[in-house]
Symmetry: C3
Subunit: 183 residues, 3 copies
Amino acid sequence: MKQVDLNTFSNPTFTPGAGMFKRVIWYLINAIFFDSPALLPYSFKRSILRAFGAKIADGVVIKPNVNIKYPWKLSVGENSWIGEGVWIDNLDVVDIGSNACLSQGALILSGNHDYSSTSFDLIVKPIRIEDGAWIGAKAIVTQGVVFGSNSVLAVGSVASSDIDPNGIYRGNPAQKIKDRVLR
Amino acid sequence: MKQVDLNTFSNPTFTPGAGMFKRVIWYLINAIFFDSPALLPYSFKRSILRAFGAKIADGVVIKPNVNIKYPWKLSVGENSWIGEGVWIDNLDVVDIGSNACLSQGALILSGNHDYSSTSFDLIVKPIRIEDGAWIGAKAIVTQGVVFGSNSVLAVGSVASSDIDPNGIYRGNPAQKIKDRVLR
Amino acid sequence: MKQVDLNTFSNPTFTPGAGMFKRVIWYLINAIFFDSPALLPYSFKRSILRAFGAKIADGVVIKPNVNIKYPWKLSVGENSWIGEGVWIDNLDVVDIGSNACLSQGALILSGNHDYSSTSFDLIVKPIRIEDGAWIGAKAIVTQGVVFGSNSVLAVGSVASSDIDPNGIYRGNPAQKIKDRVLR
């Protein structure tokens, strides 16, 4: 019978997108200034992220204890909020639109594994979170998802497939429970 | 078509309940003594919380890595336990009764947003967790909830509406699965 | 009417398995080298865990920010992975097989309480996670569970009873949604 053998693990399609030196420097900066209680002006955090290749528009809010894997694979539009304790584990590109809110403790997870392969191959896919979306506290968006404009993912829910615009979604996996109607 | 515009965000009904200076001092104390692995006597932690306006009864246990937003909006009754990694994000009053247990990683979340408004107005509501309640590990209680006496919220579940006393609740949103009968 | 009284709490069946001095030293080492962003060779982390009584096979990967309660109650087989932010809260023995993967933020939780007793007695039970299993990101495995070989627990799901081998499980509580067939 076939068995998983992590000794044969490979990730042929994944590239980190930066050299070892840059990755280690970012890891340290992330640990000291981002994934920490450090109180720093948002403008300063935006500048650091941009210096590492992120596309960060003006007005983006980045609260404390935010863990970002690779800023060079991150894009965030105007006035969007990255809440306290958010984890952007972006092995692949995470593209967040304008006026989106990632609430406290949310996880954006762009890596997965091929569980049919005994070598457990890494699968990475980009994630797009469109304008006006709201990812609730401790909610999770997984690899490959397009999260539609203005939609809401309720607290503690998991979006593991595409989310249509203008809906309220809840559960694991998240299902649409009603429309979001803006006054 | 209407669009969310976080540049127009306002929170007319919310007040932090303390001046900027006190909030920053508390933020630092929280980061150093509470939301950290620091090993301190519970009596010392209770005293600090009381000095910042919390009502903390005797016998309250506060484990490491506990994140408390505003102690002046917190009340905890006799012998209750705040487990490791608990996050009390109390933008509004959180009132915990006696002999209640918040297990590791639980989140008490008193803030929300009006997702019908393009300005994404903040909504805060008090939370009351009554005597003998047990909030399981990594479970979440949201704004405005009255969590009834002796009820149990199972691990990883989300209470987003009122919880009757003496029941066991599970899921997202949490539903009653059976009675809690004390011998 | 009966009421919970945490002042009468007892845990007659639980023993920490090490003296106070060893527990405090481990607590500090865990906080500094394991549950922190420290970048250390996996071989070094394996050696520390073994020095504290853990059975850790060769090739075991231990990412940063991993919180381990009692290494002397932990066993991990060859080439298994402990992901970033994993919390092994092993008040009782946690036995992880070979080629298993605990993804980021997973929680292994071997403690519970008797919610029928007014003294809220602690209940601890061992957990066994068999070869080739995959516990997804932010998923939770609770006390007493035997998690069958090669099975998968989807992101954010909760396994609160035994899991058969070779299945994909999702939800809270986790239910089997399909077979895992290895090519």
